[in-house]
């Protein structure tokens, strides 16, 4: 196995990619911009973002090229393929060698892909814990997995795509503070849970409410979450 060094948080390339993605979030078409940045920032040929609602319902919101769009549409029509699996299981499904993948996994999809310039498909669910909001699918013309550095950037894109899609779904305006939602802060997730229980609203709306309150009061989402978890701020005070 080739050595895959863990990403360096201060890596210059990663920092540049982060800046570019932040910029993409602030434009008029954040989802489209995030989609296009996949092709620019990592060695993939195309990308698409779909929004998932109820069970097995998916709506493609953007794609960088015809083949990306076709890969996505085909999978949701046939009801099988890496993106469908990733959505169903809520876990990434990464297929670095599509022509060499076992045919029994997706017989119809595999057949449809024969002769196409699709060597690899990487399907990532866009989710925050139990909040499932969509899918990001990437394809490469030739088989091959990503290097450690490319993977780190691809995962950053996944984070930003999730954020852009959350903004899109919950109808919030783009802004400086809305470009910030650290995944590793457990209190943000705990506070989201508390809002679900207190206000009786779905999880995605609870997270949107938390972000909206932080934005409206000019505070960091971490601080608001901290106050809710420590019971200094009542979830009802966020009820609009």
């Amino acid at each position: 196995m080739a050595r895959q060094p863990m990403a360096d948080p201060w890596d210059e390339r990663l920092a540049k990619a982060r800046a570019a993605l932040l910029h993409a979030l602030h434009g008029t078409d954040p989802l489209g911009a995030v989609c296009r940045s996949c092709v620019r920032l990592v060695p993939v040929a195309g990308a698409s973002v779909s929004m998932t609602g109820g069970r097995a319902q998916a709506e493609m919101l953007c794609s960088t090229d015809d083949l990306s769009a076709r890969i996505e549409a085909l999978q949701f029509t046939l009801g099988e393929g890496p993106t469908v699996d990733a959505f169903t299981a809520g876990r990434p499904v990464l297929v670095p060698d599509v022509p060499g993948a076992p045919a029994q996994a997706w017989p119809m999809f595999a057949q449809a892909m024969t002769g196409q310039a699709v060597g690899a498909i990487f399907a990532f669910p866009l989710q925050y814990g139990a909040i499932s909001i969509g899918m990001l699918s990437l394809y490469r013309e030739r088989p091959g997995w990503l290097s450690g550095g490319d993977l780190a950037i691809a995962l950053e894109i996944v984070d930003v795509a999730a954020l852009a899609l959350l903004n899109h779904r919950t109808g919030v305006l783009n802004g400086e503070q809305l470009a910030f939602l650290p995944r590793g802060r457990e209190q943000i997730h705990q506070a989201t849970g508390m809002l679900i229980a207190a206000l009786g609203i779905p999880a995605d709306q609870a997270l949107a409410r938390l972000r909206g309150h932080a934005f409206a009061t000019g505070r960091l989402i971490d601080e608001v979450a901290h106050d809710i978890v420590n019971r200094h701020l009542h979830p009802r005070d966020l009820d609009q």
Partner: protein, 251 residues
């Protein structure tokens, strides 16, 4: 703190722990639950005051996966290390980091060291979770008294760290990098779902976060449903807080 176990006591506890872990690993198990048990073993076997497991998010950061206690302040102490501290250094170098005296490290870790001292800890150790050349995370141990980790404990800590690595990667033959990414990213996201579920239960049943976690675990064990699955159901509303508190609440 309890007195350190005698060597015979310790040997039998060790044996018991590894037999139980091996039992878990051959069954259909939940990574979140397995890592929580492992953190508990660390505290018991190594006589540590607290233990936690952090995983690389593969973007240059770290995320808490398990802790010997789900007290908010302890979780925060682990989480600070996403930015600085022994775990970050350990994951970046792939080498163990031993800090027998935290007071000497306030210059190196200006956020982490004072915070850890404030919580009453004097020494900290980070042991890498290694898969061949990759470091996928770290096992973090805290002691309330200063001093090095005894040589025998270093061995045990390493064995527990290796067990965690095997557990995270599950039965799959992780020869390829993409499978490692699938496993790590899924484990990290499931931990977020557990935090969300803790929040739901903490509010609905008026519990602190540690109690909420224990209630989720009890329900999981009593009903033989994975902790992660319960967390998802509770957050999405297919399971209610009343279900959990009524039938599988804290002992």
């Amino acid at each position: 703190m309890s007195t350190p176990p005698s060597s015979t006591q310790r040997e039998s506890r060790l044996l018991e722990a590894f037999v139980q872990m091996a039992d878990t690993l051959v069954d259909d198990y939940d990574i979140a639950e397995m890592l929580h048990q492992l953190a508990q073993y660390c505290v018991r076997l190594l006589n540590a005051a607290a233990a936690g497991l952090l995983l690389s998010d593969q973007r240059g950061g770290l995320q808490v996966m398990a802790s010997s206690s789900e007290q908010t302040r302890l979780l925060e102490l682990f989480q600070i290390q996403a930015n600085e501290g022994p775990c970050l250094d350990c994951v970046r170098t792939g080498e163990p980091v031993h800090v027998p005296d935290l007071t000497e490290m306030t210059g190196r870790w200006p956020s982490f060291a004072p915070e850890a001292l404030h919580e009453g800890f004097a020494a900290v150790y980070a042991i890498p979770l290694r898969l061949r050349q990759d470091t996928i995370g770290a096992l973090n141990l805290f002691n309330t008294g200063p001093g090095p980790l005894p040589a025998a404990d270093v061995e045990v800590a390493r064995a527990l760290a290796d067990t965690a690595t095997i557990g995270i990667l599950q039965e799959r033959a992780i020869r390829r990098g993409e499978v490692l990414t699938e496993q790590l990213q899924t484990a990290l996201n499931n931990r977020i779902a557990i935090e969300q579920a803790k929040g739901v239960l903490a509010y609905a049943a008026n519990l602190d976060m540690d109690r909420a976690f224990q209630a989720l675990r009890s329900y999981s064990r009593n009903h033989n449903i994975r902790l992660t699955e319960i967390a998802h159901r509770l957050v999405t509303g297919t399971l209610t807080p009343a279900d959990i508190v009524a039938t599988g609440g804290p002992a």
